[in-house]
């Protein structure tokens, strides 16, 4: 593959897909797509297509994974072997998926009223059917809707988004090609009620000042993302089954 550099990713202030630096890809969410689950949701975020489902609370098994004082969140993020334009992947968990699953579990442990379900587990599944960069953020945003639909008591509905850097420009919500050649990537999850961060990862090169601006960009984008999440939930409650 020819060496691409981040300077090729922006032309006249516009990104390769025509977006402005602070522009999200289009996002749509549909709740209640997996009938067997307690709660579920499907998100299309740009070319990402991700489905999430929540089961539980149920007795934590094996027993040693449970906590006698509170519920345990078990998140499982996986990518389907046909999810990328590259070669056939392996199903199940690799080291990347294990890490993403862990930090995602922590995002949701922050907002579920865990103390209500001692000794129980809550399973959150995130399956990336098609990936195009930013799948962890899209997955968390989707799983938050699934969790809200499950009826498990939560304090807030977190959203997630990634901010990257192309050259000296901070860009919101990078797609796969931007992600591959960018200078920095900062995925974040935020609780909209208090604006606090429950996921923060970073790699690349960034100044402290740029990080502050990145967080501000994510918060601002959250207004849009949260509205899409709330609409997806509201749509379901609007439909009364006879």
């Amino acid at each position: 593959m020819s060496k691409k550099e981040s300077k090729d990713l922006m032309i006249d202030g516009k990104r390769l897909d025509g977006r402005n630096p602070d522009e999200l890809r289009s996002i749509s969410i549909k709740a209640n797509v997996i009938k067997n689950a307690m709660g579920s949701a499907y998100i299309e975020w740009g070319m990402n297509k991700i489905v999430s489902a929540v089961y539980g609370p149920s007795e934590a098994l094996p027993k040693h994974t449970g906590d006698s004082e509170k519920a345990t969140i078990k998140c499982r993020y996986t990518m389907a072997p046909f999810s990328s334009l590259e070669e056939h992947g392996r199903p199940g968990m690799n080291r990347r998926a294990v890490e993403i699953s862990k930090v995602t579990s922590e995002v949701f442990s922050n907002i579920v009223l865990l103390e209500k379900f001692p000794g129980n587990e809550i399973d959150i599944y995130i399956e990336v059917l098609q990936g195009d960069g930013g799948t962890r953020a899209a997955g968390i945003t989707c799983a938050a809707v699934a969790l809200a639909m499950s009826g498990i008591p939560i304090r807030d509905i977190p959203f997630a988004v990634s901010v990257g850097k192309i050259g000296r420009t901070l860009v919101l919500d990078m797609n796969k090609i931007e992600d591959n050649y960018s200078d920095a990537d900062v995925p974040m999850a935020i609780n909209p009620r208090n604006g606090e961060l429950t996921l923060l990862q970073m790699d690349g090169i960034l100044t402290g000042e740029e990080l502050s601006r990145a967080i501000e960009m994510a918060r601002h984008a959250g207004e849009t993302i949260s509205r899409i999440q709330r609409n997806a939930i509201g749509e379901q409650y609007g439909q009364i089954d006879a």
Binding site: S83, L85, H88, P91, L129
Partner: protein, 261 residues
């Protein structure tokens, strides 16, 4: 999975009277939908639902090493993933015997019907095309065999064929389709309280005594699999085969429509 005694008795009682939840009879399918091309990163894809059973199949085509015994033929690999999100009774981990059985039955039908001609997938010595079919179960409500076969066949029929040029695989741009011929579908039956039913849903499968999957094309049987500990008489099997040839006309039509043929 746990089903209450009341549910079980209710379903048995209705089956005895020839009634099923939301269906015309013992030998009818639930509503079937097939949508192809839903996952454009894959070379081919199809989303299939039969009632509340929902599966998605993705096809990837890569450069692969040939099998030792067929050095000039491409390879075909089918896998089924019973995602834990699809049912409370599915656990994360390596494929269960159930998942392996489903993938192998789907694979046999596709292979036997000759949908993909692996001899045409030769590139150069030691290099052939590998076709990988993954059937992902998103929601379980019975009859994964038929849903999986419909999805796998529909995805194959609509797959792009990558090119191999100067040592690189080209997956985008001006590509033709994967060459396929024939269509295979399957009909799955279950025996519940001495009734033979077509397209068992999740509740019906739970207390089915025996199960039979018959995969066929227009003229021939292509794969079969009997499952669960019960048995069938030769006469029952004969009638299930007849019904399969009849019902599969509609299934092939659905696949053709979804594949734009």
């Amino acid at each position: 999975m746990h089903v209450s005694t009341i549910t079980e008795e209710y379903i048995r009682d209705r089956l005895l009277r020839g009634l099923r939840e939301g269906r015309k009879g013992l030998l009818s399918y639930r509503g079937i939908s097939i949508i192809t091309g839903t996952m454009p990163n894959a070379e081919g894809s199809a989303e299939v639902s039969i009632g509340d059973t929902k599966v998605v199949a993705g096809v990837k085509i890569d450069v692969a090493e040939p099998m030792r015994d067929t050095p000039e033929e491409g390879t075909l690999t089918t896998a089924a993933e019973l995602l834990p999100m699809a049912s409370e009774s599915y656990d994360p981990g390596p494929p269960s015997p159930e998942a392996v059985e489903i993938s192998r039955v789907i694979d046999r039908g596709i292979r036997a019907a000759g949908i993909v001609d692996t001899e045409k997938l030769f590139i150069e010595p030691e290099k052939v095309w590998g076709v990988y079919i993954d059937v992902y179960v998103l929601n379980y409500d019975g009859n994964l065999f038929d849903a999986g076969t419909l999805a796998a066949t529909s995805a194959l029929l609509t797959s792009r064929m990558p090119k191999y040029e100067n040592g690189a695989v080209i997956r985008e741009g001006d590509l033709g389709r994967l060459e396929t011929k024939n269509i295979v579908t399957s009909c799955t039956f279950a025996k519940v309280s001495n009734n033979i039913i077509l397209d068992p849903d999740g509740n019906e499968e739970l207390f089915a005594g025996a199960r039979l999957t018959v995969a066929n094309d227009e003229n021939y049987l292509r794969a079969m699999q009997k499952g669960i500990s019960g048995s069938f008489t030769a006469k029952e099997i004969g009638s299930m085969v007849d019904i399969t040839f009849e019902r599969s006309k509609d299934l092939r039509k659905l696949v053709k429509n979804a594949a734009g043929e």
